[in-house]
Symmetry: C2
Subunit: 538 residues, 2 copies
Amino acid sequence: MTTDAASPQLPNDDFHVFDTTLRDGAQREGIHLTVADKLTIARHLDDFGVGFIEGGWPGANPKDTEFFQRAAREIDFRHARLVAFGATRRAGVDVAEDPQVAALLDSDAPVVTLVAKSHDRHVELALRTTLEENLAMVADTVRHLRAHGRRVFVDCEHFFDGYADNPDYALSVVRAAAEAGADVVVLCDTNGGALPARVDATVRAVRSATGARLGIHAQDDSGCAVANTLAAVDAGATHVQGTANGYGERVGNANLFPVVAALELKYDRRVLPPGALTEMTRISHAIAEVVNLPPATHQPYVGVSAFAHKGGLHASAIKVDPDLYQHIDPECVGNSMRMLVSDMAGRASVELKGRELGFDLEGDRALAGRVVARIKEQERRGYTYEAADASFELLLRDEAAGARRRFFELESWRTITDHRTDGGMVNEATVRLWAKGERVLATGEGNGPVHALDQALRTALERTFPQLARIQLIDYKVRILEGRSGTQSTTRVLITSGDGRAEWSTVGVADNVIAASWQALDDAYTYGLLRAGLRPEE
Amino acid sequence: MTTDAASPQLPNDDFHVFDTTLRDGAQREGIHLTVADKLTIARHLDDFGVGFIEGGWPGANPKDTEFFQRAAREIDFRHARLVAFGATRRAGVDVAEDPQVAALLDSDAPVVTLVAKSHDRHVELALRTTLEENLAMVADTVRHLRAHGRRVFVDCEHFFDGYADNPDYALSVVRAAAEAGADVVVLCDTNGGALPARVDATVRAVRSATGARLGIHAQDDSGCAVANTLAAVDAGATHVQGTANGYGERVGNANLFPVVAALELKYDRRVLPPGALTEMTRISHAIAEVVNLPPATHQPYVGVSAFAHKGGLHASAIKVDPDLYQHIDPECVGNSMRMLVSDMAGRASVELKGRELGFDLEGDRALAGRVVARIKEQERRGYTYEAADASFELLLRDEAAGARRRFFELESWRTITDHRTDGGMVNEATVRLWAKGERVLATGEGNGPVHALDQALRTALERTFPQLARIQLIDYKVRILEGRSGTQSTTRVLITSGDGRAEWSTVGVADNVIAASWQALDDAYTYGLLRAGLRPEE
């Protein structure tokens, strides 16, 4: 990568989608990114088509320095420019002598975002310098980076609070940055306290007073970060900062996904490369996996529940026309509509779900009634079928057949976990079951008791059902159902399995994690064998 | 409870805080409320001081019918009125003959919210009646309920989409409701597709065209429900609907907590009884417990992370003045500031955290450096100290002492879980350890292997340390750290314990849930004994 005041403009330079997941997003409680994580996320963001990826603060943190070196070498960005984040020079120091500023140049990132104080109180209390020196720090640092061929954006920290307290000073910081050559001056609601009406009025006032190109950086402490970002765009901002899934310090940053979706679908403004929006759900979930947080199920547009309908009223209307209860077509963002099976939904959604699975429950009201009753009873005990389609289908098949039909019947199992005197650990499981009229006894070992049980069950079944070899366990989730009762709580386990072509989920509920896991494993292999074309004996 | 057109006005009748957690909130995927759950939530909402609690749809659902009977009998509401939800009469039916309308009266709720169609397309496609008949259905039903002494609010479903498509018809529904005697006409963004600027303009237009008292019901599909609600208030709405924690269909409803906090703290408008706002965090978490969802950690105002600071920049500034990075004083909403210990934070926040715990890390830079290095290493292995203060303090103590200091040393443990042929289940654990120079062997049983291990450990230690009797395990959480690798993943366990005066949390990480639980139990009892005033031998 070369530094490039002269390089071609980005296609989207009239409107910037600026991602700061790797810097501000990483400040979220619970996120700990390795350099490899950061590289993977940068690739996802570039695929999504954001214009700018703020990678971190080179020099402040060895991990960030390494990230910039490796990103330049290892990633062939198709859409995004890498951005280094840093601060204006220190008070009373020549900008050319400031090692922090030198580290920004050393990163070789073509764009630098400088954080500048714009609230007089912060200049005095946190920076401990004079208001005049702060203006000189902004101007000097912008000019220095411009002279070295960098494009510069200036983040005015605490701008909205600063503008409310001392508008003249806040405006003088914007002017200092713009006059020194900053391309964009970004107004930051750093503490997240602003509401949309104030953001709109402030951005309009700053635009008219300074003529500078403005950006917006909103935090979600008031629950309005997406709306604040859109309010700034309404008021003329042409640069929006945000993070994937809204990750960030405290409550989080503006979530870039609903911002971009609103701009594309509701403002009819092209801010991403063609076709990119349909990748949004996939990319949101992929980034959640990298940061090792479960994807937020109720996130706008991309959450697994974002187009999931449960109310009976909605289910009946959706049988008529799905658009009656959807603000957009979920496929525009790569998501899909789901009908939930639940005691709230009643017969209409069980019938719709049955139709999805190929059962004519509308033609068999008695069966539909039995299924609804059985689900209510199971949900009372802690089961959930919303996230366990395969267990739901087995329940439906059993009710339709009038009997529990399986490929094998359990006699007993046992697990032993032994933390030995020498510090070594052994997990062993034994399973006794009947399959095709034969009694089978098998033992398995694993790195935990559930893994050992899974190995024992596989060993017991594989001779009779060689089709099992293709079935893999993909995901395993544990949920303690009663939060305030210590290690005695009920446990729910959800297992996702796959055969290379499809994935399915199963559920188990019991007093303890091993017994709950057994049930989910039992359903997982039963469903997998059904998918492989086998049929259980009557 | 009596029906009461004549009863005294509520103190807050000039502005309504209307909660629909028990109806719309219950439509959230993953929520399944019993009647007892609904009664408990209603008590919390009344404590919080909302003016109206929508309890459900009597007649449509036997659970809701029972709720209204029991709520009237069992709850002595101090602030709230109960509201029954229902639909306008069916097309072509005399309102006095409609059993659904009769059920609303039978509920004895003093207030009824009627859902009415206001989007012409929905009238024709979903209701399958004429536009004229729909207006008659609205007017007849409102008049009928008014004649029976009920106060009536009308929810105009899909109002914003309806107004965009056919403003004249949407306005005629508002007029029909108001003229028939509805106190408030609530404009609903049922599909959640509206953005604040449109909400503001629409509410202003409807107010000026009809003069009706208006309310707002926003869904969060665009991520703007809180902002949309505030935009409607800016435009003159005096009735806001929302749910606790934003629970609701699909993405959810407007979260009542940030709405109310913004009105009280930023609009300086008294919408709750005096002092109630400081209960908000407690009530948010209590309701999450009842609905059996973990409290959203990053929720504005009330999330455990809402005032948690991680960035090194923030930590340094907060050492100067906490208000520099907070939009409100967290105590106003019953929350508190937290400094997070993490590799992001660096020395400044480890020092602040040490100060909280009584360690002078600022005076011992070498110790601070060792602690930061140790934390980074542990976090790389999957530990997290952000949620495990007690494990962090033990780490700090060990580093300060230069050695691992404990009350007991493990020799070995073993757990057996046996699902027997007769269907019975036995969980047994054996622990061998050394305490005060003596070797102790103990066995425990439990309803799961971790519970059995806990019992064995207690039995082993209780004779030597009778102080253990006061220590209870309160909460137990399991997290699988790698999502896509089946039952072989790394497991992190967080345990919260208490001694009746304080609670503390500890962490364990291992290949399997039992070994991880052991570590967290070890730390939990060690910390508990320290709290009881014991000191480990050198």
